[in-house]
Symmetry: C2
Subunit: 211 residues, 2 copies
């Protein structure tokens, strides 16, 4: 889910035990350097107009290093370091709670824990995803994977078989809706509060989609 990326790229301490050692620290630095350079260049001249070589140069590494850190150019934007965050969060919710409610809570809480810088990055990322076809596509893959994960958890929790249609439909619909809230929020001239948008979105979902 593009949304949870907030937590992933957050400056906060990663969930896994931070490995000590100069080597690990340097890796993190390089990773950050590449991403920062990329974002700066994307902002200035656009995603497509920015070749990877240029990013490498700006980050002062070789092009091959960029690809070693990020398998594709898209991944520079859509990093996915802490995939387990979302899953853990869901599993933390009481098993009796409806999925839709779980997701709403997680979204709002994650947001509450984010700082101004995280949010600024989230806007930039969301706009990139909205405007660049390649990124939109890639984001969809992430969403699909998240949907599978959520489906698994919900199936398990509700005792339904894996791959149950209802479970999958709900998971997919919820994520699609959340994405929509995000896009709306990142729209130019977004005066709305993201938490409010998310709550409204989930209200629509639970009220039967009649319109």
């Amino acid at each position: 889910m593009t949304f949870m990326v907030t937590a992933r790229t957050s400056t906060a301490t990663p969930p896994k035990a931070p490995k000590t050692g100069l080597r690990e620290r340097k890796k993190m630095q390089t990773r950050q350097a590449i991403r920062r350079a990329a974002y700066r260049l994307f902002e200035k001249q656009g995603y497509d107009a920015t070749p990877v070589d240029q990013i490498a140069e700006a980050a002062d590494v070789s092009p091959s290093t960029v690809f070693r850190y990020f398998p594709t150019k898209e991944d520079i934007v859509l990093t996915d370091e802490y995939d387990t965050v979302l899953e853990a969060a869901i599993r933390d919710r009481p098993a009796t709670e409806p999925v839709v409610e779980s997701l709403r809570r997680i979204a709002v809480e994650t947001l509450g824990r984010s700082n101004a810088r995280d949010r600024a990055e989230l806007v930039q990322r969301t706009r990139l995803v909205r405007d660049v076809p390649a990124l939109r596509g890639r984001a969809a893959e992430h969403t699909a994977r998240d949907a599978r994960m959520i489906s698994a958890v919900v199936a398990e929790r509700s005792g339904r078989p894996t791959g149950d249609l209802a479970v999958r439909v709900i998971s997919a619909a919820v994520l699609a809706a959340l994405q929509e809230a995000l896009l709306r929020w990142a729209e130019d001239g977004h005066s709305d509060d993201l938490e409010t948008l998310i709550n409204e979105t989930f209200d629509v979902l639970t009220h039967g989609l009649t319109l």
Copy 2:
């Protein structure tokens, strides 16, 4: 919507007046030849393992011609010739009908009009979309565009402002759900009937997504 492609690539007469003329006929032939060759090769050796040059050779045209007909390799799978079909279908439904119901009807009716060959192609396409990341991404773009279109129609129909959150959420959720039904159907060993799956899917949506 990947789904409506059934109608698009159908052997049935296209919705627009079929232009006469040798030129047009030859174009159609070339287009078909390329796509058929591509599908055959994809089936045999996989999407990624099939370079465009090889498709060109199999279809007996030059590589540049392939790109003239299909802007990207992905478009050979996800053709989009009759974009207006879906929009027209929606506008044909009574304005008082809930969107979800309109979509359900359209899906089932379109399916009813399809023949065995169309369905076979639909399975193959759906599996390709499921398995090939690039295609999954591309399909998502189509879905996003369809969602915007549906939102526009629904907003207009219900008197809500363009870009209304509820409208967008519903459109996105419905399409995501439909996609899920399709994927489920195309799963290996699909014994279920697609119409049934679609109906079940929409039932889940209208029943408030509680689970």
